[in-house]
Symmetry: C2
Subunit: 247 residues, 2 copies
């Protein structure tokens, strides 16, 4: 329907200011994070070796062209790609930014809308697509050289994540349904790459209206720990201060 309108306008050949412009390619890419083995990981897919595709065989962020017939909007497109690769349907998903230039795709002027998602490791391990694979992060990069400008996008995603972790509750979305405070703190420390003060962390997390204790306790080889879960609100909490800065 909307397409027909566009076709008509284009076929009419009139100076309809804009519909006549050559259109950039429009894609969506998703940077999907999770924590495995005490390290931040990102999901990459290996590209096919077809001759018409750029960067054959290279690794890339999950993503691809917007399908105007199936994708109601950009976020729906991101969710579709995320579901195709991981099976996950309701992750924490946030828009990261957009990258568009004449140079980033050898085929044509192209613009990508980048999202980033946080998944609990427990969910992330189920039902990965055949061409998808988790890679640990080395600093802000990943070992293989990525296709397009995906190295740059990944670096921006990591930076954004680290930045927001300083003053928000984002790491809570990397946790399983039930978790203990020390586990949450460890997640913060993994993402930030530096240790945090135990008591300050506790008082902050407990005074924030973010988590609630549940009746159960986590038993282990040592003293049992109180289990918590996220409160109903899905929105992240913003703290008034950053954590003890590295100096």
């Amino acid at each position: 329907m909307a397409e027909r309108a566009g076709q008509k306008a284009r076929e009419s050949g009139g100076r309809t200011a804009g519909l006549d412009f050559p259109r950039p390619l429009t894609t969506v890419d998703v940077v999907i994070f999770t924590i495995r083995n005490d390290a931040l990981h990102v999901l990459l897919v290996q590209r096919g070796a077809g001759d018409n595709e750029p960067f054959p065989g290279a690794f890339a962020l999950p993503g691809g062209f917007v399908d105007i017939a199936r994708d109601r909007d950009l976020e729906a497109c991101a969710l579709r790609k995320l579901k195709e690769k991981t099976g996950v349907v309701s992750p924490y998903l946030e828009q990261l930014g957009s990258w568009g230039s004449a140079a980033r795709d050898p085929r044509f002027w192209s613009a990508t809308h980048a999202y980033f998602a946080l998944l609990p490791a427990s969910i992330a391990d189920r039902a990965l697509a055949a061409d998808a694979q988790w890679f640990p992060l080395v600093g802000e990069r990943v070992k293989p050289k990525l296709a397009f400008d995906h190295d740059e996008i990944l670096a921006a995603a990591v930076q954004r994540l680290r930045n927001k972790v300083e003053y928000t509750s984002l790491p809570a979305y990397l946790m399983a349904e039930e978790f203990t405070l020390p586990e949450l703190q460890r997640t913060y420390e993994i993402v930030l790459g530096r240790p945090l003060e135990k008591s300050a962390f506790r008082t902050r997390m407990l005074s924030a209206d973010l988590i609630e204790p549940i009746a159960k306790m986590r038993k282990g080889p040592n003293r049992p720990a109180q289990l918590y879960r996220l409160k109903a609100a899905k929105e992240p909490v913003y703290f008034a201060r950053t954590f003890n800065p590295p100096e």
Copy 2:
């Protein structure tokens, strides 16, 4: 060059996965803020009354189609549109996000890349385009109903600005070359919509490596005030705490 490659691929009619997808319209819009008469203002342009254009006569954010022949990348496109409307060539410019859906433009599936810019009032008043006009902000809106989903984009820009003002030095980019600390504080207060503590504001601004005093003083009807200017670094400063929160 890049265009030719695209044309070829399309003409070949091969299943080149992606180049065959119908492409969304790609635009860039810029939310340009300044402060006039102790109030936050945004720049709007009035759309022409041509029959082929949607929302004829309505006000909209400055923006339009990406011109792949002239725009090296998205930011260059935003800078071009900003210069066309204001003459300003080196503002504070930050990407805001992107909005894309089948519904936002009645003509076709379209995606816009939104930026927001901060201009000092002194610069902003020079050389406005004929169809451009400053509008004061009422909350997160503006009086006229805007074209497309620009009301939503504007609201997001205001929210982002207010948010970042809590813990960054962004308002410094709304100041003239030379300014006093009380003037800077007033700018913060205008953007935030609430008063700030004088002494805390001073110690924070002075201990941040952001501004430097210059030899001159601003004379007025009362005690003269020390003049400051932004330090060389163009990047905004992030504070470790937010300002006294409203509750």
